[in-house]
Amino acid sequence: QQQVKQSPQSLIVQKGGISIINCAYENTAFDYFPWYQQFPGKGPALLIAIRPDVSEKKEGRFTISFNKSAKQFSLHIMDSQPGDSATYFCAASPPLTFGGGTRLMVKP
């Protein structure tokens, strides 16, 4: 019930391309869905978050799409840059439950 499944585990994208990471959850009591970005040796940092009453949220190059009926949500990174190379975690709360992570590499 608490599990959050994330895919893919790793992703390689060319600079300027679109990175797409998908997540699915089971617990319908979750009501807050953040995405975290983690660089090596650092703690996760909040990137963008959505609540289930909206289907999409955009902040700069980052967009979350949310499908409540399918219990799925995804992160789209437009115009991906080498500086976006990091591990991305989707999460759902409460309590804050992380997906397995996606290691993104953006090639110059």
């Binding site: 709360s93 409460p94 992570g101």
Partner: protein
């Protein structure tokens, strides 16, 4: 910008020893958390703390773990008798009680615990 701080950044200990990991949450935050991340794996919730008591804990947070807020600024995680499998990165996080219950948690940089 306020941030969560953690000390030490790296702790090496012998199996069976007690360790205390320390955190200073963001000053006006009311909820405090500990997570762990085994190398290459996902971040796992350990415990949440509010109003000087544990509000929720996971199956991982067994009797060898304890948390404390000894003063107005520090939040600690104690592992009583460390095991090899306790080797991980431990993250502290804090969040403010916001209108609407948004659970935005801010993470510290972590303490890498190595149990030999």
């Amino acid at each position: 910008e306020p941030e969560v701080t953690q000390t030490p950044s790296h702790q090496v200990t012998q199996m069976g020893q007690e360790v205390i990991l320390r955190c200073v949450p963001i000053s006006n935050h009311l909820y405090f958390y500990w997570y762990r991340q085994i190398l290459g794996q996902k971040v796992e919730f350990l415990v949440s703390f509010y109003n000087n008591e544990i509000s929720e804990k996971s199956e991982i947070f067994d009797d060898q773990f304890s948390v404390e807020r000894p003063d107005g600024s520090n939040f600690t995680l104690k592992i009583r008798s460390t095991k090899l499998e306790d080797s991980a990165m431990y993250f502290c996080a804090s969040s403010a009680l916001l209108a609407g219950g948004t659970d935005t948690q801010y993470f510290g940089p972590g303490t890498r615990l190595t149990v030999l």
